[in-house]
């Protein structure tokens, strides 16, 4: 009974904390996708809103268009930076050459969402060439490439495989070259080393300005326009919308390249880069940047991580344990339910997280539900197996000496199944610590934020900053369970570790 009380108390504290961090009404929630430019534009929107007097809740690191768009639709975020080409092709499924006004009207009509005036730059696919090579050959447009069949092209796997990628482009411009496939990250090094002469890129990549590369002009307008805009909910107050309009025609492609380069090659945070840029352009007043120390940041994220893990595992225990007991008493259903729980386990975690979005939006709740579903099976299975494998002779004895079914369960079967159940909970907890790193993709926070940002920026140190503490957390949980087992199970009944 005492244990149950402590359990309940811990739960209240955990949940209470959750409620406390839930955003207040006057707060605007700004989302951003997990790539370099996404973070910078997210910060830019956030600073403009803060300058206009709003509190801003930053939900960056969101895992792609599907996540952010669903988040926006469900009201889990209020605004995020997006590209018109992405909206027309991926969200509205419109034909390539959709114009801005059509896109604006259709998102309004179909989803009740709005887009701001363009920021002033387009981030589309583009072809690059070194500037000295361009001067030597006189190439400045994509059409010019036709006359140089001996140029070596290095094209990214993604662009090669896209339906509107290399295949269509080369036909459209009648390009005679046959490219080699390259990882996008390696292509810049290859073009600097002159192992290739032409590569594909995003037109605002930070490397373009740093490496003296030339964007070839899309002279026949093959690439659709990917104008950067603020994508927001129509319900936002008019003042908020007009604050967002401050960004219209305020960022050029060159400026965006430079901002990306600063983030990639410099040491400054996305927040500082965005802030300094906006101040320099006179869009916002300079403010003192919130300086969360590195240690504090790490502790905060580790706490959120632990909180997600514990809440998910605790709720999984509360469901799986009674369900396991029920299945033990009614074995008819046990196979069906265990199969179902097993199937849940085989859904890749990132997919399960994504599936939560249409149902529950983004943030901690859907992450918690997904983690809970993951933690369910190990506990459920071990509870059922633990109970079934209690020595049948002892079960018979328990009944024979006069224990009723409930007493037999409580005094004999459950205590003897405890070692197996503990192993199940332990497995669930360790799985959850690992899977919780992916929760960052749907805006749930935790140590995964470092990992996701690190992946987006190709920054190993940042990845390790998330990976090492979460590994330590897993080890700590293992040790805690070892201690728990020592306390709960007499030595001669402990399960040997595999």
């Amino acid at each position: 009974m005492k244990k149950i009380l402590i359990f309940g108390f811990a739960l209240v504290i955990l949940v209470g904390h959750f409620a406390a961090v839930a955003p207040q009404k006057e707060t605007i929630i700004v989302g951003a996708k997990h790539f370099n430019e996404g973070y910078i534009l997210g910060e830019i929107i956030a600073f403009v809103l803060e300058d206009a007097g709003y509190l801003v809740d930053r939900r960056f690191n969101l895992g792609g268009t599907a996540v952010t768009f669903e988040g926006l639709r469900k009201g889990a975020i209020d605004v995020y930076p997006e590209y018109t080409g992405t909206i027309s092709a991926e969200i509205l499924k419109m034909p390539q050459a959709a114009n801005f006004q059509d896109i604006k009207a259709r998102v309004r009509q179909e989803f009740g969402l709005e887009i701001s005036a363009p920021y002033g730059f387009s981030n589309s696919y583009a072809l690059l060439i070194k500037k000295d090579k361009a001067r030597a050959t006189g190439i400045s447009t994509i059409s010019d490439l036709q006359d140089h069949p001996d140029l070596r092209f290095g094209i990214s796997h993604e662009f090669l495989e896209r339906q509107d990628g290399w295949g269509v482009l080369s036909t459209f411009y009648q390009l005679p070259q046959s490219p080699v496939a390259l990882e996008h990250g390696l292509a810049y090094q290859a073009i600097l080393d002159e192992r290739i002469e032409v590569m594909d890129a995003y037109s605002t990549d930070g490397e373009i300005s740093r490496y003296d590369l030339l964007l070839l002009e899309d002279d026949r307008h093959f690439f659709p326009d990917y104008q950067a805009v603020s994508f927001y909910r129509a319900e936002l107050p008019d003042e908020t919308k007009s604050a967002l309009q401050r960004l219209s025609s305020s960022i050029t492609a060159e400026e965006m390249q430079e901002l990306n380069a600063l983030a990639l090659f410099g040491k400054e945070s996305h927040a500082k880069i965005a802030h300094d840029f906006l101040v320099k352009k006179g869009i916002i007043q300079a403010t003192r940047l919130q300086n969360t120390g590195v240690g504090r940041d790490l502790l905060d994220k580790a706490f959120v991580h632990l909180q997600l893990t514990l809440l998910a595992v605790l709720s999984a225990i509360m469901v799986a344990l009674p369900l396991g007991i029920y299945l033990y008493r009614h074995p008819r259903f046990s196979n069906a339910i265990l199969y179902a729980a097993g199937i849940m386990q085989t859904v890749p975690s990132i997919a399960l997280l994504a599936l939560m979005i249409p149902l529950l939006g983004i943030g901690r709740i859907p992450a918690l539900v997904a983690l809970f579903l993951y933690a369910l099976l190990p506990i459920l299975r071990n509870t059922v197996i633990g109970l079934f494998t209690v020595d049948p002779q002892l079960k018979k004895v328990a009944s024979a000496i006069g224990l009723n079914d409930w007493q037999r369960l409580k005094l004999v079967e459950l205590p003897l199944a405890v070692p197996a159940i503990l192993v199940g909970i332990r497995t669930a907890a360790v799985i959850t610590v690992g899977t919780a790193t992916l929760a960052a993709f749907i805006g749930a926070g935790g140590l995964g934020e470092f990992i996701v940002t690190g992946l987006a920026l190709n920054n190993t140190a940042l990845i390790l900053k998330g990976a090492i503490p979460s590994a330590i957390l897993a080890v700590v949980i293992e040790l805690a369970f070892e201690g728990l087992e020592r306390g709960m199970v007499p030595q001669h009944l402990r399960q040997k570790n595999q």
Binding site: L394, K396, A400, I401, G402, L403, Q407, V412, L416, P490
Partner: protein, 239 residues
């Protein structure tokens, strides 16, 4: 046969497992405060008979009367607390200490703690086990010691009926002799009705007042100790 009232009466008990008939029209009685040996080869149906008395098995046919009343299978647990049960492979619960094993039924019946402690101590004394054992776990005890603990557990609530299913079968000769002494001493001190299932004639002669011999699911013979001794010389080779 001694002239005591019957605590348990079995009337025309028949039972089958699937197509195999294990008990075939058995009518026998267990006399109050007597030790009745239920003899037979393995597979003769003697253990099944014990489970019929205990209500673990509800026979296809016939009736079990306990203290003059038919067994009520709807409240069988309460009735089982009136019947101590000692099983063949001891069946002590490995996660409980000796004290916890012995006192288990007392806690279920919500007996006062001091009463349970007193009773546990006096039982340990009766079976000749040191009190220091109370804190040990079953695996730390020898087979004979465990069997004695099993006896204590069955006796805790002072049940009027004690059912023993080949309790000493796995023990060596010397250990058996010791436990026989303890059992008889207990029986002398607080006599109760005991059904002792065994395949060992010597054991039956040493312990029992009466006997029932089961063969192929039927009662082959039954009677008192004098008759049992006679039977032994006649039938020794057949059992």
């Amino acid at each position: 046969m001694t002239d005591r009232p019957n605590l348990v009466e079995l009337r025309h008990i028949s039972h089958s497992f699937g197509s195999q008939k294990v008990l075939d029209d058995i009518s026998v009685n267990l006399k109050q405060n007597a030790i009745t040996a239920i003899l037979g080869k393995s597979g003769s149906g003697k253990s099944t008979l014990l489970q019929v008395i205990n209500g673990m098995i509800c026979p296809n046919r016939g009736e079990v009367l306990f203290d003059g009343h038919p067994l009520d299978y709807h409240r069988i647990q309460a009735q089982r607390l009136q019947m101590g049960y000692v099983v063949q492979q001891v069946g002590l619960f490995p996660h409980m200490t000796i004290a916890e094993n012995i006192s288990l039924l007392g806690k279920i019946k919500a007996k006062p703690a001091h009463e349970i402690t007193e009773r546990t101590k006096s039982l340990m004394d009766m079976v000749g086990l040191p009190l220091t054992y109370l804190r040990k776990f079953p695996y730390q005890l020898s087979g004979g010691e465990q069997q004695r603990v099993g006896l204590c557990r069955a006796m805790l609530l002072q049940p009027p009926l004690l059912l023993m299913d080949e309790p000493f079968a796995s023990l060596d000769y010397a250990t058996k002799q010791g436990i026989y002494g303890h059992l008889l001493a207990i029986q002398q001190k607080e006599s109760r009705t005991i059904a002792l299932v065994t395949h060992d004639w010597e054991e039956a002669i040493r312990l029992a007042d009466d006997f029932i011999w089961i063969a192929n699911g039927k009662v082959k013979e039954s009677g008192d100790k004098a008759m049992l001794k006679e039977m032994k010389s006649t039938y020794l080779s057949t059992l």
